[in-house]
Symmetry: C2
Subunit: 205 residues, 2 copies
């Protein structure tokens, strides 16, 4: 029977859980190791038994978040598996919607080294289709949809790399802008605009 006041039981996963909670409640800037530790009812330095440093914890949190993300992209990927273009467009929209709902993930993702780590640790994960929903590269689904479309479309004249940059860039850029609507020059339902944009022929005819 474990002493309730010392060994915690499953601190590692609870740190991640409380980290996500804190991120959602206080936002990107409000996340600190000490707060997370306190939320778990544990000393300030306890997290260091489970994570090398703050960025390591952040990466673990993101890993969790990217699971949601992968699922959000996976749904349209399956639904429109038969039509590569429709699939790609639907995935793009899901990408935008996800970060629109979770703006802090976007900031976190590009200020941590999660993606670098994933790229070096498991280059495979990005290219293999099987592991997307686990620990693989969160953008693999997107990447495969792009490859799929490139292979299927007779209209497309872009190289695979161009196409990836085009699709990912557009979708990511819109996501960034939408999480900063106050930075945009006029008001409006930008999410709706983004939707009609992706569905139009201007993007992938």
């Amino acid at each position: 029977m474990p002493n309730q006041n010392y060994h915690h039981g499953d601190l590692k996963t609870e740190l991640i859980k409380e980290g996500i909670k804190l991120l959602n409640s206080e936002g990107y800037e409000g996340v600190s190791l000490r707060k997370i530790a306190k939320a778990c009812g544990v000393s300030q330095t306890a997290p260091y038994r489970h994570f090398k440093n703050k960025d390591d914890l952040i990466n673990a949190i993101l890993m969790e978040a990217m699971q949601d993300f992968s699922q959000s992209l996976g749904k349209p990927a399956e639904e429109y598996a038969a039509d590569p273009q429709k699939q790609l467009k639907a995935i793009g929209l899901a990408y935008i919607e996800f970060f629109s709902k979770n703006p802090d993930y976007l900031k976190l993702l590009f200020s941590s080294d999660l993606l670098d780590k994933l790229n070096t640790e498991s280059q495979l994960a990005f290219h293999s289709k099987s592991r997307h929903f686990e620990t693989g590269h969160p953008f693999a689904i997107f990447y495969h949809a792009v490859k799929n479309y490139a292979a299927s479309s007779s209209e497309n004249t872009m190289s695979e790399q161009e196409l990836l940059l085009y699709c990912w860039g557009l979708v990511h850029g819109i996501a960034v802008l939408l999480t900063n609507t106050s930075k945009l020059p006029f008001e409006g339902d930008y999410l709706a605009i983004a939707k009609s944009l992706l569905e139009s022929e201007e993007f992938l005819r």
Copy 2:
């Protein structure tokens, strides 16, 4: 005759200058008020006589940076003033190239509240053409090029808002991705890819 050890003379502008230097040398994470103050040979709290807080100084630094940015966009804007499509494409490329060379500005820009401030303080600046190069909204040039193209093109079927989201989103997204090339799945000269992409008919035919 000013005492050399007390009143500094022109601390405010030197703080900005040293701030930019620090940003370029140590990167986004390495910027702190205290370091900037020390670089100016002044006490830690001296900056508070000229700036309300850190974000205020950061905004001033960005203001300076955005001047460069505006000029980088202004050059192709003038060069291709006669051909709205070419102009828009050239501006887009300049946008990408600028942040590709100054990746830290990109991070800073979207983690400060500069754009919000500009939008509330001078909504006009974004819409008027005359003040771009001074204190106006740094994206006004881009915006005007979009409007220009929308008005001139008979091919374009998008609304002005759609078009802005499309162009700005694409260009911004690519800029973000290029400043994180290590996050991309394969290696290559992404800047060159981006260039050929913008020039292709896939983007604004």
